[in-house]
C-alpha cells in the first residue's frame, strides 16, 4: 500500500489529484497539505520522532510563502537519511524548460510532471513505487 503526500496550494488540484490517485492506485492512502510550510513542519516532526515517511511526495512549484524549489531544498539534506526511500515528484503547470531543468538537477527527484495528473502518470508513479518496494523487500 502506497502512502502519498500531496503538497499543493490550489484546492481543486488537491481534490483532483487525490481522486486521481485513489482511482488509479486503489489501495493508496493520500494525505494532502495546502501549504509547503505546513508540509515541511509535518515532515520535520516525522523525522524527529523517527516515524514512517510517506512513500511518495508530489509537490507543486508555484506556491505562496514557500515554493516547490524551496521545498526541495528542505528535502535535500534528508534524502540520504530518513527520506532516502521517498519518491519526490514535482507537479506543475509551468511550461518553462528552465523550471524542468532546475527541478531535474536535484539528483533525488523522480520526475517533473505536468498538471493535471493523468492515469498514465499515476500508473507510472505507482509502478516505480512497486518496483522499489519489491527490491527493498528483496534486500530485507
Amino acid at each position: 500500500m502506497n502512502n502519498y503526500l500531496l503538497v499543493e496550494d490550489d484546492e481543486i488540484f488537491l481534490f483532483l489529484h487525490e481522486h486521481m490517485i485513489k482511482i488509479f492506485d486503489p489501495t493508496a492512502e493520500v494525505s494532502t497539505m495546502k501549504s509547503s510550510l505546513v508540509a515541511v513542519q509535518y515532515l520535520d516532526d516525522l523525522i524527529r520522532n523517527g516515524e514512517k515517511m510517506p512513500d511518495c511526495i508530489l509537490v507543486d512549484l508555484n506556491m505562496p510563502e514557500m515554493n516547490g524549489f524551496q521545498f526541495l531544498e528542505f528535502c535535500s539534506p534528508h534524502m540520504n537519511g530518513p527520506m532516502q526511500h521517498v519518491h519526490v515528484y514535482m507537479v506543475t503547470s509551468s511550461l518553462y524548460e528552465s523550471d524542468r531543468e532546475k527541478a531535474l538537477s536535484y539528483s533525488f527527484i523522480k520526475g517533473f510532471k505536468e498538471k493535471p495528473l493523468s492515469k498514465q502518470v499515476v500508473d507510472e508513479i505507482a509502478a516505480l513505487l512497486k518496483e522499489e518496494s519489491g527490491s527493498q523487500s528483496c534486500m530485507d
Binding site: D10, I12, F13, L16, H17, H19, M20, I23, N62, S93, S94, L95, Y96, E97, S98, E114, K115, P116, L117, S118, K119, Q120
Partner: protein
Amino acid sequence: MSRLKDFLNIDGSLQRQGGASESILVTKGNQVHLFLLYLAGVYMIVFALINYYYDDKVVAAIVNVCSLPFVILSYYFFKRGWTIASKLLNLTQIIIVIILIFLVTRSQYGPNNGDSILVFFIPVFIGTMIVFQGKEKKFGYIFAFCILILMSFLILSDFHLGSDPAYTQKQIQRELALNLIGAAIATIMEVIFILLVSNRIDEELIKTNRELDNFVYSVSHDLRSPLLSVKGLLSLMLERKSGDEALNQYLGMAEKSVNHLDDTIREILAYSRNSRLGISMETFDLKTMAEQIFADLRFVVEDNFSFRIEADGSTEMLSDKSRVNTILRNMIGNAVKYRRPDIADPYVLLSLGRNAKGDVTITIADNGEGISKDKLEKVFDMFYRGTSTGQGTGLGLYICREILNKLDGTIRIQSDIGRGTTIAISLPQRASN
C-alpha cells in the same frame, strides 16, 4: 486578477512603456538644458573676467550685457514650464554672443582675427540636438539646421566694421587656445552624456524585458492553472464512464476545447519568449531531447504508433536549447496530431545528422495525413490552419519559422496528401564540436 487586467490592457501598457522610454530622453533633455543654463552663467562671467583682465573691455561688456539677462529670463521661463521658449532663448543668447564677439573682434582687429570663436557652434549644434526631445524634437532639428547655415555664412562672409590694427600673434594664440579648449570641453561633455544616456536606455530596455518575462510567466501560470484543473476534472468525469452516451460526447467535446485553449496559451507564450529574449547558446544532446518529447507524447497516441530516431554520428549540438526544444516539440507534435490511426504502421521518424557545411540537420518524416500542394506554401503563415478539424492553433509552424530565422536556420517542407510529410531543418553550428 489585477495581473490579468493589466494583461488585457495591452494598448495601455504599451503606451505607458512608450511614454516611459520617451520621458527618460525628455527629462534628460531638460536636465541638460538646465545644466547649460548654469554653465552659460558661470562661463560667461569667467570669460568676461579673463577678457577684462586682458583689456578687452568691449568683448567683456558684450558678454555680460548679452548673457546674464538672457540666462535669468530663460531660467524663469523654464521654471514656469515654458521649456521650448526657455531652450530657444538660451540657445539664441549663446549664438548671439558668439556672433557679437566674432563681429566685434573682426571690426576691431580686422578680418580673420578671432574667427576661432566659431568653433563654439559645434557644441551648440550637438547641444541643440540633445536638449530638444520628445514633442520638441522638430524645433531641435530646425534650430540645428539654422545654426549650420549661420556658421557657414559667417565663415564665408567678409563682414567687418572698422579696420583697426590687427591682433598681435600672442593675442591670436590666446584667443585660439581659449576658444578651442572651451569648445572641446563642451563637445566632450556632450558626447559623454550621449553615451551615458544610450547606456541607460539599454539598461532600461533589458530591465523592461526581464520584467515582461516575469509577467508573462505569471500570466501564463495564472491562465493555465484553472484551465488545467478543468481539464483534470473533465478527465475524472470521463473516467467514471456514465452510460449516458450524449453526456460522454459533451465531455469529450469540452475536453477538446480545453486542450485547444491550452495549446493556444502555450504557443502565445513561445512566440512572446522567442521575440523578446536573446539567444543563449549551450551544448546539448538532440537525441536525449527528442526522447524526452517522445516520452511526453507516448500516452497521447495509440499503442501501434511508433516513435523512431535515426542518428548519424554524434547528436550533440551547440544552439539555443529552449528554442530548439520548441521546434522539435512542434514538429513531432504535428506528426502525432495529424497521424493516421487507420493505417498499419503509423510513425514519426526523426533523422539527425550533419550536412557538408557542418550544419546540424533534423528531418522529421511521418506517414500521416499530409498537406495538399496549394496549402503547403501557407503553412508558415500566422494563424493559418490547413485543416478544419480544429486541432491546430495556426501558430506552431509560424513560431518555428520565426525561431529558425533568429537562429539562422532553414526549413523545407515536402508533403503528399494522404501519404505523409517530411520536414527538413538545418541549424548552423557555431564553434561546436
